[in-house]
Symmetry: C2
Subunit: 214 residues, 2 copies
DNA sequence: ACTTAGCGGAGCGATTCGCTCCGCTCTGCA
DNA sequence: TGCAGAGCGGAGCGAATCGCTCCGCTAAGT
């Protein structure tokens, strides 16, 4: 009913998506002004909804974690272990998880966030375990390998740059090219290849990476 | 002999490597002050060697193109088409080609640069053609797919972020984890997988991407 | 011992940052 | 229809940072 509240909610969603886009384009120096402009609202409206830039980014991180967990649960609901795992990976990549990387270490991690992060780790472990058991996933790949792969593919240099240059005409082609790269990487997760180099990465690469530098 | 000149040359090399590192960490807003500091010289010395920030970045781009071409020629010299192609890809990734992405579109492209770029395209075409002919490379992968793959893997979100946070203790582990991701992606280039989605990307994704936005 | 090439970094004006605050619009109720 | 005020956009604030200049000083060369 209330038009006022509807409008505010639309603005909020637009702000969050704009923040993701601008973060992808401008990286660490994404400015509030750019985010507000991209969302089509004034900075004043942004600051009524979020007291501070950090609060906006915390909200963004929380939503990302929630999406990760929902996608993982959907993947586990798939009877096919391989389709479940790859569906999860693709969903995370397309959601734009990667664009949050530049703000890691710049925002305070709330207890709610780290709880959801732990839950996400468990879900991914289970996805990987299932795919190992069914023989669909090469044996020497760990859950952390998969996490890092999502992070690596979560940003697209080509798409980001074209967007920054305003070449919107080329974006569909770039998105299609990107999908091919993702398919290539996922094919590399299949069994039947030479063993991976080095030893499996430990989770110390994730622990503490999101905490604020003192 | 001349100690003066030796020192200057060492400074120059340190500047170029520092520029690569800082670009990887700070992206588009890498500052001259940060580059000079990382190289262990004053900004004054940087500006005696390069009249402007753009000139430094042009030099950096030129060296990257030259490295690309040398690596491609080395790859072609390898009697094994697959080893030649993957050696080329790995060499480009490790050289840090990816760190130049943020400055694309911000510097003027000299005639020398575009000539070397054309030469690089030809060399890569030949590498891909050889690998196709020997059956080592999946048939639906094009040279542009390989270029985009190099660009995608040319930056490491994990390594960049750990460096920014000063967690140098974790860098070796991150580098090893990165090498595993590269191996996975290269395995995905092998034959024997489902066809890639979409149609092969055209070279319009590269044409003009390096020209200055007007 | 004297000259001077070559260096580091303080500091300039311009720009951009996160954020505040205010005038205006346009909704919702009488 | 008229009016009160909720909610908006964006000008503008002080601080920070930018690319770049310039100068005092160190130390190499004669």
């Amino acid at each position: 009913m209330s038009t006022r509240r509807d409008r505010a909610e639309r603005n909020d969603r637009a702000l969050l998506q704009a923040a993701r886009d601008v973060l992808a384009e401008d990286g660490a120096h994404a400015s509030v002004a750019a985010i507000a402009a991209r969302a089509g609202v004034g900075v004043g409206s942004l600051y009524r909804r979020y007291q501070t830039k950090e609060e906006l980014f915390q909200r963004l991180s929380l939503l990302s974690l929630e999406h990760w967990n929902e996608a993982a649960e959907q993947g586990l609901a798939d009877p096919d272990p391989w389709a479940g795992l790859t569906g999860f990976v693709r969903s995370c990549i397309e959601f734009g998880q990667g664009s949050l990387a530049p703000i890691a270490g710049t925002i305070e991690v709330t207890e709610e966030m780290s709880a959801k992060s732990r839950r996400g780790d468990e879900l991914l472990d289970e996805l990987v375990r299932r795919a190992h058991a069914s023989g669909d996933l090469r044996a020497d790949v760990t859950a952390i390998d998969v996490s890092l792969l999502i992070e690596q593919l979560g940003r697209s240099p080509v798409v980001d740059q074209l967007r920054k240059q305003g070449r919107d005409d080329l974006l569909p082609a770039a998105a299609e090219a990107r999908r091919r790269l993702i398919a290539i990487a996922l094919d590399g997760l299949r069994p039947g290849h030479d063993p991976l180099p080095g030893s499996p990465p430990g989770d110390e690469l994730f622990t503490g990476r999101w905490s604020v530098a003192e």
